[in-house]
Amino acid sequence: MKVELFPYGAFLKDLGVLVVADLHLGIEEYLDSQGLHLPYSQLPDMEDMIIKALDRYDPDGLILLGDVKHEFARASDQEWRDVRDLISTLKRRVRVEVVRGNHDNYLIPILRKMDVPLHDPMLDLGDVKLVHGHREVELEGTVVMGHEHPGISLRKDFGAKVTFKCMLHGAFEDFEVFVLPAATTIGGAKDVLSSEPLSPILKKLDLSTMEVHVVDEVAGVRKLGTLRDLLRVLQSQRW
């Protein structure tokens, strides 16, 4: 399948839809409750980012691929407000649909109120399955998922390290998998080289042949190579 990447999501050309995963709206209020105080900056940043992509691709639809909001156990005030603000802004531009993620327990009433379709557990389009990624799925055709917050840490001389968000693409024998970068602007990405995968889907796969595509606001989008090759380069480096 043809996929175009942007920070931070993907345009699925064949389907004409834009997919954005793992927004985690309202995470600031959650962090507040944990005593971690960050400025509330995610909503405006996220809005800018998605609008830019809408301008660029002019898609038929926008699919939010799970974890639209952050808290498991409730919908906080900020979540209500942020989700409502974001979706109503976006709805004015494009048809919006949501695939349910593991953080989205209390999202249903908000979506119902706003008349936004919710796909649970996935949006199955036959050849293409759009899933969040926290549950197993039958591997056939094309699977597009989020959940993983993939990142890749690259190193320069003397060990200076920089982490980039990335998309992972795996072309296996009779199916292919796309793992999208997380859209949330708070909390970095997880280095796929030095940690085990979170998603039960990825746990079953040999990740070493998956291709890494860096997606970065400053550096843009670049295809790097397979995880196996990247690891070899990192190990060849000296400090």
């Binding site: 600031e28 962090l31 507040d32 944990q34 005593g35 971690l36 105080h37 960050l38 400025p39 509330y40 900056s41 840490s153 690259l154 190193r155 320069k156 001389d157 003397f158 060990g159 200076a160 390290k161 920089v162 980039f164 708070i186 909390g187 970095g188 080289l193 030095s194 940690s195 085990e196 860096v214 970065d216 400053v218 550096a219 843009g220 670049r222 790097l224 190579g225 090759d229 990247l230 690891l231 070899r232 380069v233 990192l234 190990q235 060849s236 480096q237 000296r238 400090w239």
Partner: protein, 870 residues
């Protein structure tokens, strides 16, 4: 300052107290002779003298006397009359016990005369004090409160308890030397001013200090601005028997194991010849290692083996208390400590201090040595063992200077804004303030005497959540600040709880725990080091090589790779820095000895080392050979004694390391705090020229820049003369690990990041993540106070920019010369320790595009290479 006799003191005391004192003590100790009467007269007094000179009783005698006077008159109320503040909880407990003696003794004496007195109470209140005990203290306050700086700040803000402090007449600050140089001290100085303002009057301030210099400045710190203080200086009252030892006379050609053996032979010999030895190492791991080997050495001598114990801050509280108890009861033969026993915890009687390696400052050497010698009449006896050649010279000069009475100057942090922010929240909780009233109070604290109104306002703006970029005001708005009226006060009810649970200035340090794949714990890695690792890297931990596998549940997972070579260098951060003052003395010594050697007066040099520096024969040989070799190497290059790095010469040389990279060495003998500043500024310049990361290594004797493969040295020392050092350094540290970790500490002290919230502890890992996000945001803000403070702390406290600028001025004026030796096959002897030093940090600005491009290039090359092989 006038001396008083015992009779003069006794005459001024209440007869009961006088009798007790007279029967217990034959004579007054030196500090008692000078300080007791002035304290009685209500003067502020700073007492500086070695341990065991009766400082504590000096301070307390007046307090005890007046409390008994009140008791006799039936005027003793349920109030606090004296506050004793010590930096260590353990010390507080010691004092509690030590006060028991006079309080009970005098009461008994009264009873035997038929006088029944109300009990004079004293109590300890620290972070360890239980809720019920605290309640009890509120109902029946102790007459003497023993506490810590942090708890003092808390009780000062507690609405009910602080009322009990209204009657306080004396505040005693013990071990003040361990507070002046850090932010705990800045914090305490503000607490004292807040207290004085709360009382609406002054109280008597009594400071007790080990050897420190200059006393005038410490006195100002104690009493604040505009108050007088009597200085009682009995620092040099004790006689000193100091010696510098080397385990072998050749530290280069003898193999390492042999040297190790000789070293432990030496320590063991010293231990068995003395009753109780206190051994100081410079690191905790060092203390563990020495304890282990020493026990091995005495494995056949059970009575000694069992009487050797380690004592350092990484040990559990229980273990520490047990060791302290054995120590006090004189049950230990040797105690091995890093820094934990530097302070005045009662160590029982010690007849020898053994210092392993250089303690890096004359003052510290004197303080540590001063833990030996019985009472104030005893002789201080200490042996300094050199571990390498630079160490030997350092120790020789140190002992020489110590015997001459030289002491390094203290460095008092200048108006740290993070501590101010924390205290302002405490002040706002108390009441509503006008800016001028607050400024008046704050400026009385010595570290804040130069605080500007603008600085105060910038902190208030931050605390009130006024900064536009920090949206989510309710979070940061701990206070309200009215810019019209110029007033501020507390906002919201949760602020008090946040303040009470987050008071303090000591940053939490944790490391990443390292486990093997099968779950065995191997040790800890510094977070900054761990961040740089990639799977497959091999590194040394606890003396063994491991391969990094990855992260799992917050732990680093490794597998053994014992027989393989490490692929990444080790990483050391904060070590004790050599003091600038002592560094210059060492430079002077180098210059003078080179002159002697050049004149062929070798014997004179040897004699000087023996007599003035108190070096044993082996140490004399080590130092002599080292100096001689340096001179001969330089002569072989056609240079002379005047080119040897010293207090007048900075040496520069260059060599190719194992990897074929250029390593440029600067022999600048100014201590690592100055070298840190110089190296980062120069490293930044090199980085800007070549656009690639530059590795820096820093030691006390110099620093080096390592250039990436394919790049030649492109900067020289003189480039530093052209730059605005402060400005360049701020840019250079901008994105480094150092900046990130220090910003976290500053933001935590400034209550931007909390350590504790609604009863939950916030993990250091979470604090770090928050700090990184916050730093990105505040970096864009102009003059954000906590960011300014981070730069200040790094440049002034961690580094020593003031003296770095002085050094540059010396070069400019020609007083200091640069001797450039160019590219050498082998580094000069003096450069070898710098050449061997591992990486300290990397100067690197994040250029995301460049990183990616370069990585792609490497990837392409590797792939192409493989295609050819196939």
């Amino acid at each position: 300052m006038r001396e008083y006799s015992k009779e003069e003191v006794l005459r001024r005391l209440n007869p009961l107290v006088a009798r007790w004192f007279d029967t217990g003590f034959e004579d007054l100790t030196p500090p008692q002779r000078y300080a007791i009467v002035p304290i009685m007269e209500g003067r502020n007094v700073l007492v500086s003298s070695p341990t065991g000179s009766g400082k504590t009783l000096t301070a307390f005698l007046t307090v005890i006397n007046e409390l008994f006077n009140l008791a006799l008159r039936g005027e003793l109320k349920d109030r606090i009359y004296a506050v004793y503040i010590s930096p260590l909880r353990a010390l507080g407990n010691d004092i509690y016990r030590n006060l028991q003696v006079p309080l009970e003794g005098i009461a008994d004496m009264a009873r035997s005369k038929g006088v029944e007195l109300p009990e004079i109470r004293h109590a300890v209140r620290t972070g360890d004090t239980s809720q019920s005990e605290r309640q009890k203290q509120l109902r029946r306050p102790p007459h003497i409160l023993i506490t810590t700086p942090e708890t003092f700040a808390i009780v000062l803000t507690a609405p009910k308890f602080r009322e009990k402090l209204r009657s306080v007449k004396w505040v005693i600050i013990d071990e003040i030397h361990s507070l002046v140089e850090n932010k705990r001290g800045s914090h305490l100085s503000l607490s004292l001013e807040r207290f004085s303002h709360f009382l609406g009057r002054d109280f008597v301030r009594i400071g007790l200090s080990a050897t420190i210099n200059p006393l005038e400045e410490v006195a100002s710190f104690l009493v604040g601005v505009g108050r007088r203080c009597l200085i009682v200086d009995t620092r040099f009252a004790k006689r000193k028997d100091l010696r510098v030892l080397a385990p072998v006379s050749d530290m280069i050609h003898k193999d390492v194991e042999e040297q190790q053996r000789k070293f432990y032979d030496l320590v063991a010999r010293l231990v068995s010849k003395h009753k109780t030895s206190l051994i100081f190492t410079n690191t905790r791991s060092g203390a563990e290692r020495v304890t282990f080997h020493l026990k091995q050495r005495f494995k056949d001598v059970e009575e000694i083996r069992e009487e050797i114990a380690a004592h350092h801050s990484s040990l559990s509280r229980d273990v520490r208390l047990r060791v302290e108890d054995l120590m006090k009861r004189g049950k230990l033969r040797a105690i091995v400590s890093s820094t934990s026993l530097e302070l005045g915890i009662d160590v029982g009687s010690i007849d020898l201090v053994i210092q392993i390696g250089s303690p890096k400052s004359v003052t510290r050497a004197v303080q540590r040595a001063g833990r030996s010698g019985h009472g104030y009449k005893g002789t201080i006896k200490a042996r300094f063992i050199s571990m390498d050649r630079d160490d030997a010279i350092e120790l020789a000069v140190m002992v020489n200077k110590a015997l001459e009475g030289f002491l390094d100057r203290v460095h008092i942090p200048e108006k740290p804004l993070d501590v101010l922010a924390q205290q302002l929240v405490g002040m706002a909780i108390e009441k509503r303030w006008t800016i001028d009233e607050a400024l008046n109070v704050i400026r009385k604290a010595y570290p804040y005497r130069n605080l500007s109104k603008e600085e105060l306002i910038s902190v208030l703006k931050y605390l009130s959540g006024e900064n536009e970029k920090l949206r989510g005001r309710k979070v940061y708005g701990k206070i309200w600040f009215d810019e019209e009226d110029m007033t501020f006060g507390r906002r919201g009810r949760t602020v008090r709880a946040i303040y009470m649970t987050n008071v303090g200035t000591i940053p939490e340090q944790t490391g990443i725990r390292v486990h093997t794949i099968d779950g065995r714990f191997v040790g800890k890695l510094e977070e900054e080091f761990h961040e740089r690792l990639c799977p497959g890297d091999r590194f040394v931990l606890s003396g063994k090589v491991f391969e990094y596998v990855g992260m799992k549940r917050g732990k680093a997972i490794v597998k053994p790779a014992f027989d393989q070579r490490p692929t990444v260098p080790s990483w050391y951060s904060e070590m004790l820095p050599l003091s600038f003052d002592l560094a210059l003395e060492i430079g002077k010594f180098r210059r003078m000895s080179m002159r002697l050697l050049a004149d062929g007066r070798d014997e004179m040099l040897r004699k000087l080392l023996r007599k003035k520096c108190r070096a044993n024969d082996k140490a004399v040989e080590v130092i002599y050979k080292y100096l001689k070799m340096e001179l001969e190497y330089l002569r072989s290059l056609g240079l002379g004694p005047e080119d040897v790095p010293s207090d007048r010469v900075i040496g520069v040389e260059c060599f190719l390391d194992e990897e074929g990279r250029y390593r440029q060495i600067f022999l600048s003998l100014f201590g690592r705090r100055v070298n840190d500043a110089l190296s980062r500024a120069l490293g930044y310049l090199a980085f800007s020229k070549i656009g690639e990361p530059v590795g820096i290594s820093i030691t006390d004797n110099g620093f080096s820049l390592t250039y990436p493969l394919g790049h030649e040295p492109c900067v020289g020392f003189r480039d530093l003369l052209e730059m605005d050092l402060r400005n360049v350094l701020e840019r250079a540290v901008g994105m480094t690990d150092l900046m990130r970790s220090r910003f976290r500490h500053v933001a935590t002290r400034g209550l931007m990041i909390l350590r504790s919230y609604k009863g939950y502890e916030i993990s250091v890992a979470k604090q770090r993540i928050t700090a990184e996000s916050l730093m990105r945001i505040v970096m864009r803000m102009k003059n954000f106070p906590l960011l300014r403070e981070t730069y200040r702390e790094i440049l002034e406290d961690y580094m020593d920019i003031k003296n770095a600028i002085r050094v540059l001025d010396w070069v400019r004026s020609g007083r200091m010369r640069i001797a450039d030796l160019g590219l050498l096959e082998v580094p000069t002897p003096f450069a070898q320790s710098v050449a061997l030093e591992s990486l300290s940090d990397v100067i690197f600005m994040e250029d995301r595009i460049a990183v990616l491009r370069e990585f792609e290039e490497r990837l392409r090359k590797i792939m192409a290479g493989e295609a050819r092989q196939r």
